[in-house]
């Protein structure tokens, strides 16, 4: 019974996702105004040949700052979990 229910839910999911390749057409994006602007003016404004880099570091610099902070926070979390503990310090491992 439970397996039938899970299979039914998956079939509904699959049917819902199959709308995606039926509606969208590959290789023909709908709204390209912003990207056309980047491609036309990005080289002159940021003086960089690589438009992706100029989008990442110049036009969307705040985005990249947040990304770096997320990476930093993840590293801090890992370091806090595995840090060397002092003698006699109480912790919940083991």
């Amino acid at each position: 019974m439970k397996k039938v229910l899970v299979a039914a839910i998956f079939l509904v999911w699959a049917a819902g996702l199959c709308i995606l390749p039926l509606l969208l057409s590959f290789g023909n994006p709908a709204a390209t105004d912003m990207d056309t602007y980047f491609l036309r003016n990005g080289q002159a404004a940021a003086a960089a040949n690589n438009i992706v880099t100029s989008v990442v570091f110049d036009f969307r610099g705040f985005d990249t700052l947040g990304e770096s902070v997320v990476l930093f926070t993840a590293v801090t979390g890992v370091a806090l979990m595995f840090r060397a503990r002092k003698e006699g310090e109480e912790h919940e491992d083991e």
């Binding site: 995606l20 990207d35 992706v52 491992d93």
Partner: protein, 115 residues
């Protein structure tokens, strides 16, 4: 018509594989593998949204003539990949801590929170 949209079909298949792995598997490492497969599906969807027919990479260094694909989805995919790496590192650390504390990473054993 569906065969011209082969990347989107791949997105659907990868999404279903990832969701099935997350829901049906009992091992934490396999669940994390499912999360990673789901992330790959999202990245593939983002990149294929920005593809233009016959487009070249948006880099002007020795570029051939032709239309360029959209740069913004690629930049957002870069963000998504880096955040995925950070999340995966944290998840694996949690798996190691759980394995040290409980001696197992099967989620059937991890029932102490329910008491």
């Amino acid at each position: 018509m569906v065969f011209f949209n082969l990347p989107y079909v791949a997105v659907v298949v990868l999404t279903l594989i990832g969701l099935a792995t997350i829901v049906l598997k009992r091992n934490l490492i396999k669940i994390f593998l499912g999360i990673t497969i789901l992330e790959s599906a999202v990245n593939l969807f983002l990149v294929s949204l920005g593809y233009r027919e016959g487009g070249i990479a948006p880099i002007y260094t020795n570029a051939p003539e032709g239309l360029m694909v959209l740069p913004t989805p690629q930049a957002l995919t870069l963000t998504s990949i880096v955040i995925g790496v950070a999340t995966t590192a944290l998840l694996l650390s949690f798996a190691i801590i759980i394995w040290k504390k409980y001696g197992s990473i099967e989620i059937g054993f991890l029932r102490r929170l329910k008491e």
